[in-house]
């Protein structure tokens, strides 16, 4: 699956470990949640970045002690119909102030990019090559946003306030 990061298709520097894959000596690794929680201390001692693949039915608060050290958190969309990871993403970004990479994995299609960006994702393992190529164009589809999220975009309600105040000057 192509990885889109910073708006561009990039190589994935992380090796995905299964529950029982032997730990490679070096390099960046992405580890399933169970294994991560049981081996966290050892994982962080070795050279290379550590990321975790977090299932969408597990409390994201369990990650809080590790957030400062994690290079990436990969949240899972088992199907594009299942929106639990959107809530997890917002909690990570807005409540727990996670600043590392937040990666969307699973059934990631271009029609979800705007929602995902707004929820705080910044890396995308995209299912289809054509969707990955269409990333920038699709991500810019909307210029109006009604809800405040942690992404810093100004909402329609507040843009109206700004317009109203600027119109008020000199009239």
């Amino acid at each position: 699956m192509p990885l889109v990061n910073g708006g561009k298709i990039t190589g994935d520097g992380f090796a995905k470990l299964a529950v029982d894959t032997p730990l490679p000596e070096s390099g960046d690794i992405l580890v399933p949640a169970e294994r991560f929680l049981s081996e966290a201390e050892g994982l962080f001692k070795r050279a290379g970045k550590v990321g975790v693949i977090w299932p969408n039915n597990r409390d994201i608060a369990e990650l809080v002690p590790y957030l400062g050290k994690l290079a990436t958190v990969a949240l899972v969309f088992p199907t594009f119909r299942d929106g639990r990871a959107y809530s997890q993403a917002r909690l990570l970004r807005e409540r727990y102030n996670y600043r590392g990479e937040l990666r969307a994995t699973g059934q990631v299609l271009r029609d979800q990019f705007v929602f995902m960006l707004r929820a705080g994702f910044d890396a995308f393992e995209v299912k289809k090559q054509a969707d990955a190529e269409a990333f920038m164009q699709t991500a810019k589809r909307y210029s109006v946003f009604y809800q405040p999220t942690g992404d810093g975009r100004i909402t329609a309600l507040h843009r109206r306030m700004q317009l109203r105040h600027s119109e008020g000057v000199g009239t």
Partner: protein
């Protein structure tokens, strides 16, 4: 009326352009049907029995006349010349072509209407009282808050892929015309002892195969906190709502399984994290929305104009006036309900010609505004009493003056097996037959307020559980069988009906309903005792006896 500004229009146009691209990718095969399904549903497009069905949102039931004309245009240009108003302040078109949908949406976008989130597992079109802003005694116009919530829930980045659909309804009157107790979230606008505006919040109502009446989760949430409180409910639901079984995925099941106390503790905990965030609404924002609702420049008019006094001599006019005309908060004005339930017609249907003509009448007599109610009727919200006789004549010519509002032939019915791919039984022909059986207005008036609700399957789009008489069509051994319930209601005293006995065949339904009605007429203590009150007093038994003694 609420006026869209450039910001709202831009969003709708961006949505149309996105959907045009999605349809193009579907038609080229780039998107699979499985992938496309969710995207089209989020734009109100279903694949039905015969064709695509297109459901357009009428947020909180308010339509400007140019919007109604645009709906007529869609009916004429892209469909078969009519539309069907539903129980959800929507209109559906049944025969639309997929390739033409983006054009239809673009035509609607020009007048500020859209089909966003009229389907799919997201937050649906916010519904409210069709008399909002004109009903005497309401706390304040609930549409200001409906609009705030409409905006907040449109393309919400966290809640567009929920376990199941999610419906919010708002009322601001003692008499609940928005049926808030059968919604996922019901909001009742109230004032606290300090005179501040807020909401009683109810949660977990809904019909379908597991019907529940909503429970109060919080007695008062301040207006400034309503978005964060809704967001807290949604976030708990998004994370813990069941996704393993579509029939158990609605929030009512989560509330039921956890219990309202545990559920409300979860919500409360979530809410404390977010209530003082950017979701808090300051007065200025509400004032801005309020300022974009415009109200007619009402005249100072007499309570009883001469025109009305003279017309009272015409018994046909009087029959209609008593039935369809309700008090308005401004003296000299009325709210006029337009029955879409003519004798022998499918409930809720209107032709393009009727829509256009009604738009003209609304321009002439109702300051260019039309309303849509969940009972599948329309309303003109600001009619000067002096104009009532002229309006009645004009409506009568259009076939829109049937004097049966709230009577036994004012039937709510889903499209049923004739249109819907989910249905197991016909609904419309049952409704049509009943309107013929009870076409006699004197008899209907003698019976008094009586709501019949019909659904052609367990999904309950016809709200049969909350009909005073509910009719549910099911399929049994290849045959349509109808189960009859009595005693349901969808108002402020919402209740689910009770089954009166074994199901009956298609051909017997109208006879059985006649039996139920005859039993009521014989059992009521006085003419003022309404059907639902007799049922409440006596229970199911006497009705059951009357219906099944000879069957």
């Amino acid at each position: 009326m609420y006026a869209y500004d450039e910001i709202d229009r831009t969003l709708v146009n961006e949505r149309v352009s996105e959907f045009r691209d999605q349809v193009k990718r579907r038609l080229s095969g780039e998107l699979t049907e499985d992938e496309f399904k969710i995207l089209r549903l989020q734009n109100g497009v279903y694949l039905q029995l015969h064709a695509y069905m297109f459901r357009v949102a009428i947020p909180y039931g308010t339509l400007a006349t140019d919007q109604l004309r645009a709906l007529a245009h869609v009916a004429r240009k892209y469909d078969r010349g009519y539309g069907h108003f539903t129980t959800r302040q929507n209109i559906q078109f049944n025969w639309i072509k997929l390739a033409e949908l983006p054009d239809a949406l673009e035509d609607l976008a020009k007048v500020g209407i859209h089909a966003m989130q009229t389907s799919g597992n997201n937050m649906r079109n916010v519904t409210s009282d069709q008399w909002a802003g004109v009903a005497p005694g309401e706390i304040e116009d609930p549409r200001i808050w409906s609009e705030l919530i409409r905006q907040h829930t449109t393309l919400h980045p966290e809640f567009s892929f929920l376990p199941r659909k999610f419906k919010i309804a708002i009322t601001a009157s003692d008499h609940d015309r928005a049926a808030i107790k059968i919604h996922d979230i019901g909001l009742r606008l109230i004032k606290n002892e300090k005179g501040e505006t807020g909401f009683e919040v109810l949660v977990g109502g809904g019909l379908g195969r597991t019907p529940f009446i909503a429970k109060t989760i919080k007695h008062f949430v301040h207006g400034r906190d309503i978005l964060s409180y809704i967001e807290a409910i949604l976030r708990v639901y998004n994370q813990y709502g069941r996704r393993d079984n579509i029939y158990k995925a609605r929030i009512k099941i989560l509330v039921h399984e956890l219990g309202i106390e545990k559920f409300s503790r979860e919500v409360e905990e979530e809410w404390q994290h977010i209530r003082n965030s950017s979701l808090q609404i300051d007065d200025e924002v509400i004032e801005d929305i309020r300022s974009r609702f415009t109200y007619p420049a009402y005249e100072k008019l007499p309570h009883m104009p001469d025109e009305l006094r003279q017309a009272a001599a015409d018994p046909d006019f009087e029959a209609w006036r008593k039935n369809s005309v309700a008090p308005h908060k401004v003296q000299g004005y009325s709210i006029v309900t337009i029955s879409l339930k003519p004798t022998g017609g499918p409930p809720g249907d209107a032709t393009a010609e009727q829509m256009d003509a009604l738009a003209d009448l609304a321009d002439k007599y109702s300051f260019g505004e039309v309303r849509v109610g969940h009972e599948q009727n329309l309303a003109l919200p600001h009619v000067a009493k002096r104009d009532l006789p002229a309006l009645w004549k004009a409506l009568d010519k259009l076939g829109l003056a049937t004097p049966n509002v709230n009577l036994i032939t004012d039937i709510i019915a889903c499209p049923g097996l004739d249109y819907c791919s989910l249905a197991n039984a016909r609904s419309i022909p049952i409704a049509q037959e009943l309107t013929r059986r009870f076409a006699n207005h004197e008899l209907a008036n003698l019976i008094g307020r009586l709501h019949i609700n019909i659904s052609g399957c367990i999904n309950a789009c016809g709200h049969h559980h909350v009909g005073h008489i509910g009719i549910l069509g099911v399929e049994k051994n290849g045959e349509e069988v109808y189960q009859i319930t009595i005693g349901g209601r969808a108002d402020e005293n919402a209740a689910l009906g009770a089954l009166i006995g074994p199901g009956v065949k298609f051909d017997e339904v109208a006879d059985v309903i006649e039996d139920v009605v005859e039993a009521y007429l014989a059992l009521r203590e006085r003419p003022e005792e309404l059907f639902m009150d007799t049922v409440k007093r006596l229970g199911v038994e006497p009705f059951k006896e009357r219906v099944y003694a000879t069957r």
